[in-house]
Amino acid sequence: MSLTKAKFATRHAFGQRLLERGADNSDFVVFESDLGKSSQSTLFGDVYPNRYFNMGIAELNTMATAAGMAAGGRTAFVAGYSVFISMRALEAVRTVICYPNLNVKLYASHGGVTAAIDGVTHQGSEDIAFMTTLPNMKVLVPMDTVSARAACDLALATPGPVFVRLLRDPLFEFYFAGEPFEIGGSKIVRKGEDITIASYGDIVFQALQAADALSAQGIEAEVLDLYSLKPVDVEAVLDSVRRTGALLVAENHQKRNGLAYELAATLLKAEPVAFDHLGLDDCFAESGNYFAMIDKYGFSAAKIVEAAERLLLKGRNAPRRAEP
């Protein structure tokens, strides 16, 4: 399939949707830490200055102050870069937001190594590990502008803290406007019966391209968009791997404590299948071009193809369990 190039990044789509929702919902507020022009939270702030608080370059204070604003039940969005939201402000997210289950929504741009050109300091490549570990937290990673707008609506509609990981650069479009999304949901974005490739965010595009390449070799991959990372749609994954017998997880994140670890633990309990995963292999990335970066660090379409071939070969050669 050929992917349509996107005009806008998911961070922009999220900011645009927040601005639109500002008109029909006068209760929520938005906090920023001096990255508003980058996160695109200024789209909202320029129109609703009385509901927009730029707290300066002080992410921890921004987060804990948002908790105070949300103490009485109000919804507060906190915009910023994923690396700062998920780490500089982590303790506030855990202790004064997740613990009392406040309506604070984390609007986190530059997730994964999508801030590639900026270097490691600005890459949120451990954010999923931190955020999915926190009780009460929900985690969404939209892949395109349609799902990013939906993530904004879901964050507003869902009680308690929600973390939304967004991308720095425009990549591709996939979903049609009106596509329904839900907390805990997932999408089969390509049907196949030989192997399941599960991913989220930008790497779903790589998985789709990999599936095309695999198809040319007679391997039909099923591709899952697990846009809700917490809660994750375990049933959808189990249903798929029961048909395909193999699971490959590819993610723009450390391999450790990301989606693959979550699914591996689930599958070991419920449905052990041939399994492999791609991501940052206990290392930091670097500055550079996004597409070169995800290839060098091992989660591009080409690397997904190689891993799928290895996995299926291993699966075929593995000794079969005797039928009872």
Binding site: N50, L60, N61, M69, E91, A92, Y99
Partner: protein, 280 residues
Amino acid sequence: MAATALERRAVELQAIAYEVRFHILDMVHNAQSGHISPGLGAADIVAALYFEIMRIDPKNPAMEDRDRFVLSKGHSCPVLYAALALRGYFPVEELKTLRRMGSRLQGHPVKGMLPGVEATSGSLGMGACQAVGMALEGRMLGKDYNIWALLGDGELDEGVVWETSAAAAKYKLGNLVFIVDRNGLQTDGPCETVMPMEPIDKKFEAFNWKVMKMDGHNIPDILTTLQAAREYRSGPVCVIAKTVKGKGVRFMENTCEWHAKAPNDEPYAKAVAELREGRS
């Protein structure tokens, strides 16, 4: 000469503060865990807030236009729990459950768990930030309620206190008062040895706060100063309260020893006796 109304009220509040202190001793002795001396030192201020200064209704803890109190030095929570119970937010009997499994009286305060607790605190600095957030909301809504936060002096080491102080001044939060419990001691020793923060008054002034000072054990001074702090609406106010850590129990006063130590029966009995002596 007849006592003034302020003096008469001060005598009543002094008695309440002593009740609070008895409960702090009881709770920590009973739990055999918790922070005694930080609460004893803050008892007069907390009693004045809950029994005189703050606009609150214990029968309606979520009253929209209530004043909010954030115990940013959350480890001192026996003083908060005792004041809330005595004020009628929950049964005094429940104070016995401090730090027990299943209790609403957690080791540090948790928002939403116990009526009257406005913020999850104990991670130092973050109560102050939440107070700023509450004050921002009040300002945004055009409300006239006040936000009060009690900070430890050691807590001022936390950089986020200064981040949030800058924000409070930016938004001219005239509905916000920080009270710094200036007892001069933190966990590992004298504040000025562990991390010198003086001049505290000039630091807050440099952050464009109005600074006031009071004797944190002189009830008339507390009432007068906090009332003045409430009435000052041009921006945030920092009240530096000179206090004695462990106030009311001489062997706990001005020492770090009883910061986080629970007394067994003997020092407990001695402490109760001393408190009785001080009250009479």
